[in-house]
């Protein structure tokens, strides 16, 4: 350990240093240190600035190696070593160490121990993360619950009652309420994103998020389409959701798509590219085929579907059919 004056400066990456890191954070935990002290510990022990960003709880702490707190306008670099606060969660604690293929053992120990203690402190001081407390989330999203009860639950989730929030509807999982101004962590997987609304309007954001979810797709060859759909961006298309019930008899154009897809495995991905890009050249690039190949495929598809695909009307009909197909499946 390379200390100046037995002082807390950067540690050498050896096993002894890892043991000291563990003792350091254990002691912080025992004496109930606050968030800033924990982030400072990570920065001082690693010898690089450290930052904690927990979007759900609106916590943002950045500390330099000399222990001073200083915010930065720059977003975290995905290449920095980082640790989530929940297993499989988004990165939340970062060590601003550039140009390294993988974190050193000491960095990994610092991140693991610091994130573990930070999680406990956050649970103690800020309440549990919204996603972790289904009962409170359910109350906030229940439009029939009394306003006072919904506001109380929102406070319990750590929401700022004066700021807008939105609801995320994941395909597999419970609703999540997030502050509207935080776009730092884009949702992953299949998610419908509700509009940003006042806290008391969150039931509406939730219902619109669920509608948006139905417009998502797996993003595979057999189910092409976007994984994340914002209710705000659907416009009048959202009305289709009321007309096409999942599991019901598909409209004729969707049936035509299904039978065509059964005849030609490339068909759905190709048609999605045509419907979602600005030109046939862009569509060809998207699916990495030659422009002439795309032309041949379209001729074949027009034959199978029975309507033109290279006119504005035909492309519109195709877009509708692809969208309705997603609605019949979700």
């Amino acid at each position: 350990m390379k200390e100046l004056a037995g002082r807390l400066t950067a540690l050498d990456p050896d096993a002894g240093a890892a043991v000291r890191v563990i003792a350091y954070f254990d002691r912080l935990a025992e004496s109930r240190a606050g968030l800033e002290a924990l982030v400072r510990g990570a920065a001082v022990l690693a010898g690089v600035p450290a930052r904690l960003m927990d979007a759900d709880r609106r916590v943002h702490v950045r500390v330099e190696t000399d222990g001073t707190r200083r915010e930065s306008d720059l977003p975290p670099d995905p290449a920095w070593p980082s640790a989530p606060l929940t297993p499989d969660g988004a990165p939340a604690l970062w060590l601003e160490r550039d140009g390294q293929a993988e974190p050193s053992v000491v960095d990994a120990v610092i991140l693991e121990r610091a994130a573990g203690v930070i999680r406990l402190v956050l649970d103690r001081t800020r309440g549990r993360a919204p996603a972790d407390d289904p009962a409170l989330v359910e109350t906030v999203l229940d439009g029939t619950a009394p306003e006072a009860a919904r506001l109380h639950a929102a406070r319990g989730l750590g929401l700022d009652l004066a700021a807008p929030a939105r609801v995320l509807a994941p395909l597999d999982g419970r609703p999540r309420i997030v502050p509207a101004h935080l776009d730092a962590e884009p949702p992953v997987g299949r998610v419908g994103v509700g509009p940003a609304v006042a806290v008391l309007d969150l039931p509406r954001s939730w219902s619109e998020a669920r509608v948006a979810l139905r417009f998502t797709a797996e993003g595979t060859a057999q189910d092409p389409g976007p994984g994340v759909v914002h209710a705000d961006e659907l416009g009048g298309i959202a009305l289709l959701a009321g007309l096409v019930a999942p599991g019901a008899e598909p409209p004729p154009d969707v049936q035509a798509l299904e039978s065509a897809a059964a005849a030609a495995p490339w068909l759905l991905a190709t048609l999605h590219a045509v419907a979602s890009t600005v030109s046939l050249r862009a569509a060809a690039a998207e699916i990495t085929v030659h422009h002439s190949t795309l032309q041949e495929r379209l001729t074949h598809a027009e034959h199978l579907l029975g309507w033109p695909l290279r006119t504005p009307q035909g492309r519109f009909r195709l877009g509708l059919a692809l969208t309705m197909r997603r609605l019949t499946r979700t």
């Binding site: 100046l4 037995g6 002082r7 003792a23 954070f25 109930r32 002290a37 510990g41």
Partner: protein, 324 residues
């Protein structure tokens, strides 16, 4: 009955986990030689004295007390040309329990102030106990001050604006120097910065009992330091004030004092008492007791939040003193 000690500040408690291999609470006479060779003092002294080129650094051998060897002064002055006025001088006395250290130890704190205040730092080396018992230390420190006041112009320093500053044993020697210059009519100091100073050989305050075996420099180490200085005399009624300033009967007529100390350290009560006695005779003092601070915490863990506040208070006091 010994009461439970105040808890350490959380960050400082964690810092102790890291430094406990280098520095332990207690220290006995037979361990002095080892500690002098050990990593702790070496690292304390292993500093960039130029502070990234801000200071020009010179080691100067100057006359010691009459009949004693020369002493070494470390002179660090800003490399940039001075303005119209000569610079204030921070006369630094190092710590180390009277038995350890050299004029590099802890001088980084004084250099940090001097960088902010455009001041010169002169750090004095004194002979260590037990090889050199009292009064070798205070006489060396006094001789260094006399030379500094007389020769300040050679390095752009203002002999009318000398502040003495030191931590731990250096704080005790600084307080003793303020007493000695008052009584001998020596070079006048405009202020004394006494950081967790070692003031009282009696080692019998509640805090000295409370903190036994804890933190840095507990009552065992303290007994070692005072025994090394005073031999069999320590704790007896005839210990002179220039050895242990808490023994001084009269604290009037001293330059303004800045004192600080941690609430979780051996010296807490003797420092608080010293500040109170300065006020009781109409003197000027500013006292800070940092909650949960162990001895010398701002030097060992300068990054901790409490250390940052503590350093800022020291600098703010010096800034006010020098702008008067």
């Amino acid at each position: 009955m010994t009461q439970a000690p105040p808890p350490f500040d959380p960050e400082l408690a964690a810092a102790l986990e890291l430094i406990k291999d280098v520095i332990s609470p207690g220290l006995t006479m037979d361990e002095i030689a080892d500690v002098r060779q050990g990593a702790g003092i070496q690292m304390l002294a292993d500093l960039d004295l130029t502070v990234d080129g801000f200071f020009e650094v010179e080691d100067r051998a100057v006359p010691g007390p009459e009949g004693a060897p020369e002493i070494s002064l470390l002179i660090c002055r800003p490399a940039a040309p001075a303005g119209a006025e000569s610079r204030p001088v921070i006369y630094h006395v190092h710590g180390g329990g009277l038995i350890l250290g050299n004029n590099r130890v802890g001088v980084d704190v004084a250099l940090a102030w001097a960088k902010e205040l455009d001041a010169v730092v002169v750090s004095v080396e004194y002979r260590l106990a037990p090889e050199h018992p009292y009064p070798a230390q205070i006489e060396d420190v006094y001789a260094g001050l006399e030379w500094t006041a007389k020769h300040a112009g050679e390095f752009g320093g203002d002999p009318q604006r000398i502040v003495v500053a030191g931590a731990s044993a250096g704080g005790g020697l600084s307080a003793a120097l303020a007493l000695l210059t008052r009584d001998r009519g020596g070079p006048e100091l405009i202020g004394q910065v006494l950081l967790c100073p070692m003031l009282d050989d009696r080692n019998d305050t509640p805090s000295s009992h409370q903190m036994a075996g804890l933190g840095v420099w507990d009552r065992t180490a303290n007994e070692t330091g005072w025994t090394a200085l005073l031999g069999e005399r320590w704790g007896r009624p005839d210990v002179p004030a220039y050895a242990a300033p808490a023994r001084a009967g009269d604290l009037s007529g001293l330059p303004p004092a800045f004192l600080d100390v941690g609430s979780a350290e051996t010296f807490r009560d003797e420092v608080v008492a010293y500040a109170s006695r300065i006020w009781q005779v109409g003197g000027v003092a500013e006292l800070h007791v940092w909650p949960g601070g162990f001895h010398g915490f701002d030097g060992f863990a300068p990054q901790a939040a409490l250390s940052q506040v503590c350093r800022a208070a020291q600098l703010a006091w010096l800034r006010r003193l020098l702008s008067q």
